[in-house]
Amino acid sequence: MNPSSPRIGRIRYLSDAVVRGCCLLALCLGISFLLLMIGFMWRESSLGIGFGINLYHFLVKEPWAPLATPPSYGIAHAVISTLLVAGLSLVLAVPLGFGIGLFTAEIAPLPVQQIMQPALEVLAGIPSVVYGFFGYVTLVKSFEGWFDMPTGECLLIAGIILAVMILPFIASTAAETFRSIPGELKDAAFSLGVTHLYASRRIFWRAALPGLFAAVALGMARALGETLAVLMLAGNSVAVPHSLFDRGQPLTALLATELGETAVYSVKYQALFASGFFLLVIVLGINILIWIMKQKVMQHAHA
């Protein structure tokens, strides 16, 4: 430190403390968002006080009939629709996503790898509403023609489009996982003269397991949270769906449809916020799981 300018030095160090303080403040403000959000949802749903319907009835038994007498606010139809749509999308996207991930990480030559990454990013960047539009003008219209349905909207189409939406996330997480398999393991296996398929199915899949779980969980979390695409494609019917060809109303679509027609602080309002809170908790829970899995993948890579 230059002894001839102690005051400048002290100002400099003080300003550093100020900057540090500002940054910390910014951070804390940001964190409070999350807590504010959770707290507010809880408050609005009055779940703490209880709004007269117990959880089991809410989730499983009651139909959604706010205009009936007496009005009932069960979300069973939404829960089932969500499970069907998310389930279908996972069934379609997980195998394809793993295949793309393995392809990109192991088999693709370098120039091909370099095209795959932007391709997946483009897929991930298309907004939900555009996917809904795309699905509407292609599949819905086609279904009306092929299957002679009065309206082509159904859970099947919503599931297919949702699968395309979650595909890039599953694929890139899977690719990351396969890349993190230690090179020494590959050396040890291939030095024995075995094929890729043999080594993959006997050894590599085990090393990749936590990361692959994380990929599936990520896909599931995204599938549960998507709104506009399923809103435009699933049909918005409050009846409990019995098959994929039925119209349904996943939870996010229910919230989007009903909020506009709800009086503030009414029972329906509270029911909607309770559903929202429920969804929030589930998605956060899945993300905690993913976080834990990702820590495991990091451990593998450094071991």
């Binding site: 370098l110 020494e184 393991l185 590959k186 050396d187 040890a188 296996a189 291939f190 030095s191 024995l192 003269g193 075995v194 094929t195 043999y198 006997r202 050894i203 085990r206 090393a207």
Partner: protein
């Protein structure tokens, strides 16, 4: 005269002329081998003549390209992206390893490799040993248990693990793991064995056991071992090949290399003057 000029001055043929004097025929015959890694040449015009049933120690300073040389011999260089054999030929028992239509996987079966860091597959001990065997299916009617026992015995591990063959291999100690890796490699019934610093991660007792193993193995197949440990090379090698900066400076019988090498740099290295 500096070592560098010396290296450039050497002709691109083995130092012994014309062929190594040995009872046994040539196993490996390498000529004009050049390897590039990310576009940079890491091995330049390496030539080697390796007789059968002998131990060849590949020695030299760090980063000289010794592991790369080994990888060329069993065609695992191509696993590394951006690594290529730029020119040269490798013949094993008269057959061109890089010839047209040759499947690298068959080469890897016939020429086994043991790596520096012992790594157990996430399988039982028995399944580790049988990993390559189940693929190549060369048991020729012998039951798999007998197969496992034979090769675990040859690797000197049988007594210690015979009661827990079905347990995960990850529970073994480092020294045991390396012997398991050797058993795994031998179970493929290779015709040559390459070893990349197999003892560098081990304690002296395990090292001694493996050196004993190598001396036993050499009676059946050529063993090529990369080692940093000059004392080890002195103990087990029949021939030596000295690599520095990607170039072969000298090769020949081990006792000659260690007592009276032709190259000054090699002499400095083996007498410990430079590392």
């Amino acid at each position: 005269m500096t070592a560098r000029t010396e290296a450039i001055r050497l002709p691109a043929v083995p130092n012994d002329a014309p062929l190594p004097r040995s009872r046994y025929p040539l196993s490996f015959d390498v000529g004009f081998l050049s390897v590039s890694f990310h576009g940079k040449i890491t091995l330049k015009d390496v030539a080697a003549a390796i007789p059968d049933r002998q131990v060849l120690a590949v020695i030299g300073p760090s980063g000289a390209g010794k592991s790369t040389f080994l990888r060329v011999l069993n065609r695992t260089l191509e696993i590394i992206p951006q690594a290529r054999v730029v020119r040269g030929e490798v013949h094993f028992k008269g057959e061109n390893l890089y010839g047209r239509g040759v499947d690298a996987r068959i080469v890897r079966k016939r020429i086994g490799m043991v790596h520096q860091k012992p790594l157990a597959f996430p399988l039982s001990i028995r399944e580790n040993v049988l990993f390559g065997v189940r693929f190549h299916q060369h048991w020729q009617g012998r039951p798999k248990d007998e197969f496992t026992q034979t090769y675990l015995e040859r690797a000197g591990l049988w007594e210690e693990v015979k009661d827990r063959l079905r347990q995960p291999a990850s529970a073994l100690s480092v020294g045991q793991l390396q012997r398991l890796c050797i058993a795994r490699a031998l179970a493929n019934e290779p015709e040559a064995l390459l070893m990349d610093e197999p003892c560098s991660a081990l304690d002296p007792v395990s090292t001694a056991r493996i050196e004993e193993l190598i001396l036993g193995l050499k009676e059946q197949l050529p063993v090529i071992i990369v080692t940093h440990n000059l004392a080890q090379a002195r103990r087990i090698a029949d021939r030596c090949l000295f690599l520095a900066d990607g170039v072969c400076l000298e090769q020949g019988p081990a006792d000659r290399i260690f007592t009276d090498p032709a190259s000054a740099r090699v002499r400095d290295f083996v007498t410990g003057k430079i590392g």
